[in-house]
């Protein structure tokens, strides 16, 4: 491997969170963007081609080394790490709406889901998956919610555009989602 790829590997290993590309650039002031991209490619290939237990994954505009799925069960059985709890259907529905229509207020979510969502919003907010991104017009200036970088991390998405576009879904949305 090139020295730059090794440097990136070390930095990615040291970090528990995905490292944004700009921050990787700060590791070596002389490395150009192209050199960084090439080094990341090299590292990914190194893991994939040589057959490693980990892989390099692009998440939320950053990079992270993750274990391969085939070893999850063994790791969990040995109690070395445990998978996070799954999100409830109510939480996923609420997240889906916010992801597509952010910024979105509580009333709109309740109208679409047909149930009250106060406690779901609270727990999503506590988990850092959503955040208040502003206030709406109108009575009481309701809070508007949007998704956070942790949302992308949780679902291992590179960016929001990775979700299917609304016109790719079987049914057309009533309102066009705002630009993501």
């Amino acid at each position: 491997m090139t020295p730059l790829a090794k440097l990136l590997e070390a930095a990615l290993f040291a970090s528990a969170r995905p490292i944004p590309t700009e921050e990787l650039g700060a590791l070596d002031a002389h490395a150009s963007k192209a050199a960084l991209a090439a080094a990341l490619d090299e590292l990914r290939e190194h893991y994939d081609v040589d057959g490693h237990g980990v892989e390099l994954v692009e998440i939320g505009g950053g990079w992270q080394i993750l274990t391969r799925a085939e070893y999850t069960e063994a790791i969990e059985r040995a109690q070395l790490a445990s998978r996070p709890a799954r999100l409830s259907a109510a939480a996923l529905e609420t997240l889906a709406l916010i992801a597509y229509r952010q910024p979105l207020g509580r009333a709109e979510i309740e109208e679409i889901r047909g149930v009250s969502v106060g406690s779901v919003l609270k727990s999503l907010h506590e988990r850092g998956l959503i955040d208040v991104v502003g206030r709406g017009e109108g009575m009481g200036r309701p809070l508007h919610y949007g998704t956070t970088p942790i949302f992308l991390e949780y679902f291992a998405l590179r960016h929001l555009e990775e979700l299917p576009r609304s016109d790719e879904l079987a049914v057309a949305l009533r309102a066009e989602p705002r630009a993501l």
């Binding site: 528990a16 992270q64 993750l66 259907a89 529905e93 992801a99 109208e111 679409i112 047909g114 979700l163």
Partner: protein, 252 residues
């Protein structure tokens, strides 16, 4: 939102079989979810919902699931019955401007259905990520607070004795006022630290130093530590103090 729908006074038909199975409450995430499930089970066209049949099924189901006291489900039940009533109203044949009372419900169902598709996508993505571990972050244990200085008088006196032993004249009775030269001591320490990254207390205070020199050096060290120029460490009580150049000031 609140509509003046008549309160549903639904009575199950006589001789109706008791529910033969119970579905988990968590199986439905809301009234729309239940409604969609019914529509799928009944295999009816979503654009032409037989509202009477679906409403009846809905009421039956929420009773079985004991959801008939949950406000969200009751509201939907009321809505369904209202639509059913509106459908029963006579309408003039060939009237163009007939608004299908089911239209709003259909729109909501479709919207809900689309959201469920996104949920499926998220669920798959989340499951994929769940099955891969990132490097676990183990937060460093916070440094235990420094133990308060617990010295007996004799230990303190012994320490004073040890320091004074370094001096040429252990006599402490001749009190000669002598200006303490802290800036001078700082200059010496700086000069030493410029040459080496670390020094020991005994490097700064030579054997046979005058008390004022010991004190100047001590005060100078404390001053520099306060300014962040150096770092003083003592591996254990009464051990030689190690002075290191502070990394922060080095960078500055």
């Amino acid at each position: 939102m609140i509509e003046t729908a008549p309160y549903p006074t639904y009575q199950p038909e006589a001789g109706m079989a008791p529910p033969s199975f119970v579905i988990e409450l968590t199986a439905f995430s809301g009234p729309l979810d239940l409604l969609l499930t019914l529509i799928r089970e009944e295999q009816v066209d979503i654009y032409d919902i037989p509202i009477a049949r679906v409403a009846q099924q809905f009421l039956l189901r929420i009773r079985t699931l004991q959801l008939n006291e949950a406000a969200d489900y009751l509201e939907m039940a009321a809505r369904l019955l209202r639509i059913k009533a509106q459908m029963l109203l006579p309408r003039t044949d060939g009237e163009e401007a007939w608004d299908d009372p089911r239209a709003e419900l259909v729109r909501r169902l479709l919207e809900y259905q689309q959201m469920r598709e996104v949920v499926d996508v998220l669920e798959r993505a989340g499951e994929e990520r769940r099955n891969r571990f990132a490097r676990a972050y183990v937060p460093l244990a916070p440094a235990p607070p420094e133990a308060p200085l617990a010295l007996s008088l004799s230990e303190l006196l012994a320490a004073v004795d040890r320091i004074l032993r370094l001096t040429r004249d252990p006599s402490i009775h001749d009190v000669i006022p002598r200006a303490i030269d802290v800036p001078g001591a700082i200059a010496v320490i700086r000069a030493l630290l410029a040459l080496r990254t670390r020094a020991r207390w005994t490097d700064l205070v030579q054997q046979g130093a005058e008390p004022w020199q010991v004190l100047s050096t001590l005060l100078g060290l404390l001053e520099m530590a306060k300014l962040g120029e150096c770092r003083c460490q003592q591996p254990r009580p009464f051990a030689n103090v190690e002075i290191t150049r502070d990394a922060a000031s080095e960078a500055a």
